[in-house]
Symmetry: C2
Subunit: 412 residues, 2 copies
């Protein structure tokens, strides 16, 4: 049974089809030869039937890969219009200098030529090993073949083609019914995979067949991204290539205005949350999903800062891995987050078990908390007790010896 | 052969004796019964023959243990005078509420009564499991026995008594010759040990037989601490109990004024650096010492921020563990540090091997860098190329599966 959520006149139901569930989109994926493994999908094109509204969110790292720089320029030049996204895995095209910039631009040019649109209407994303140039002859022939193979119903191939060492593909879609008609939102993402092993990269792509003015699309992407893709962390690392794109084809005939904006954002949130949590579950060496919820902070930013510090604490992450109800590490991580609160008024729950209040532990409750920690879905909840209403949730995974193994092996 | 350093008329030579190498100090250490292992040293007193100048640096964590709160109050009330330091290991006396405050004060009271000084002249430090109260009957009888056993030449016992899961004791001392006489500085420290396992705590104690006004002593401790104890990181965690104390007995007859202040600071730096690097080498699961040197930043603070971000990056630390010359992770960590610089102008060296410049890798040099990474002492050097002169060094260790094992085991 699909999940459904209803808010006012709006109902949201999960549907199959991922990135090509919305009307007006096709995709194709293939092995062009960037990845060494034969038949491993390493190139995909997501194309709208006609020019669509587009928006993007990018890594805040100062070191930005060529495809990030090219895609930002294209969005700036078009004011938020795109026809297609071309993505390769296996090579990040990062720290590749002028050649890299030229290669990323060429990927856009070749897709644009085949689709008969302006090159600025093509967005580019890459993930994989950094400091290595793309094998452009393979990419070019791959682009030609992919354009020829574009079809609906290939969302799951696209989801697989963007993977690096992700343990499973991530795709999700929802159908939204409103009093003014219905539309669909689909998406796919790849996460903390490493290749050979190298930079982790987060890529995410959303499509919708609603008609959305670029300004509203950008707003919906930022608002939903903040609470989902920007609220997850595997190891606190932010890569050179992180990119999140949204395309809106308008093919459903429903136009998003201020009245329908909440419905669009809710759908973006539903799809993005599913994809983002999939990234964390598939984090390197992850065995548990941890949600860190901080409340009663003076501001939302304060809450986010504390939640992020707890979520990135190696001591907290190893304790969860070992099913150790170590509230002391949680208190200490909160205390060093750079946010003002009174530890005496703070409380810590693990699952629904209160482990710390009034500056003192409830050690008698530790065995019940340990039981919770033996599960796969872990909840840590911290109240800062400031009297403020700020709250935030950050998702992360545990830290296992497997993480070290994956990231410590010699790159060959 | 002892190492010697000479600056102007000042020469510094390493000597034996640790914390009791300077004149005017005695110590004693014993097993009082806090640690479960029979005969494991868990209590020590460091006592000056008479009231001494004193200074302290403490954790910036909002969650501060009772001994930290008591010691801060004592230093404030005396204006920087102390007779003794009492330290226990095996129990951090943190998150222990009113009982913990009362126990920490009682430790000071009992030492003061035995030494016939004011309780405010006793500093207290604890390290070990948090959220558990001290067994005060054992601590009290231990304090009585320790005071009775005070003697010179027991610095190495004190060094062992403050250990938790530190793999080896850390002590160091230097003799300083100046044109105006000579004095000695000694010290001991314990590091990123866990107990049962729980909070990591850094404790450090310095003694000198120079006569130092409290204001200058505080300044020397802050200045040397910033470049040593505050420039190391094992996992970015800052505990509830971190404390660094300095006592100056004056027994050498040499008085530190502005002219001799640089000699004192240099000696503090020499002792503190040796102890701090010992903490990193003994970090949990550590197999390599990594120095991260960042230069050509706009400011020293910028350089420190970038160096700290690289030093705390799990991807960099796992790469070093695996002897992988992964300059990409170093560039990406620098790029997300929140400091402005131009990646195109940055360079990365591993050992003396240039791996990255002009935005491009030198992959031909990777095998030589990999050779360097197979050693025990790893140097990462990053120039931000801003034209500024800011520089900073942060020391850390690699991240191994053993770290996860140590910190992920269920607390019993």
């Amino acid at each position: 049974m699909p999940e459904a959520a209803t808010t006012g006149d709006v109902s949201i139901t999960s549907v199959q089809g991922g990135i090509t569930a919305p009307l007006g989109f096709q995709s194709a994926a293939l092995h062009c030869g960037i990845k060494a493994a034969p038949q491993a999908l390493d190139l995909t094109v997501i194309a709208a039937d006609s020019s669509s509204s587009a928006a993007g969110l990018f890594t805040t790292n100062l070191a930005q890969a060529a495809p990030v720089l090219v895609s930002k320029r294209h969005l700036r030049e078009t004011g938020g219009v795109a026809r297609a996204i071309v993505v390769n895995s296996g090579c990040a095209n990062a720290c590749t200098g002028d050649q890299g910039m030229s290669d990323a631009a060429r990927m856009a040019n070749e897709v644009a030529a085949a689709l008969s649109c302006d090159p600025t209407q093509v967005l580019v994303a890459s993930t994989g090993v950094i400091g290595v140039n793309l094998k452009m002859d393979r990419v070019s022939s791959g682009i030609r073949d992919a354009i020829a193979a574009l079809a609906r119903g290939k969302g799951s191939e696209t989801a697989r083609a963007i993977m690096t060492t992700d343990p499973f593909p991530k795709e999700y879609a929802v159908h939204v019914n409103t009093g003014r008609g219905s539309f669909t939102v689909g998406g796919t993402a790849k996460g903390s995979g490493m290749i050979e092993p190298n930079m982790a990269t987060m890529l995410g792509f959303l499509t919708t067949d609603a008609r959305v003015p670029p300004g509203l699309l950008d707003r919906a992407l930022r608002e939903s991204g903040r609470a989902t893709f920007n609220a997850i962390t595997v190891d606190g690392e932010c890569s050179t290539n992180d990119s999140l794109f949204a395309l809106a084809s308008g093919a459903s005939g429903v136009t998003i205005d201020e009245e329908l904006y909440p419905a669009l954002t809710e759908a973006f949130l539903a799809v993005s949350r599913d994809l983002a949590l999939g990234i964390v579950r598939g984090g390197e060496g992850a065995t548990k999903l941890i949600s860190v919820h901080v409340r009663d902070a003076r501001t939302g930013d304060d809450a986010r800062q504390v939640a992020r510090t707890i979520a990135n604490s190696p001591l907290v992450k190893t304790a969860v891995h070992g099913a150790d109800p170590n509230w002391g590490r949680i208190v200490a991580a909160a205390g060093r987050a750079g946010v003002t609160f009174d530890v005496q008024r703070a409380t810590v729950h693990v699952g629904d078990v209160l482990l710390f209040e009034n500056g003192l532990p409830h050690d008698d409750a530790a065995p019940r908390a340990a039981e919770h920690l033996k599960g796969k879905d872990i909840r840590i909840e911290v109240s800062l007790g400031t009297g403020g209403r700020g709250s935030a949730t950050i998702w992360t995974c545990d830290l296992s010896a497997e993480y070290v193994r994956i990231n410590g092996e010699y790159r060959t």
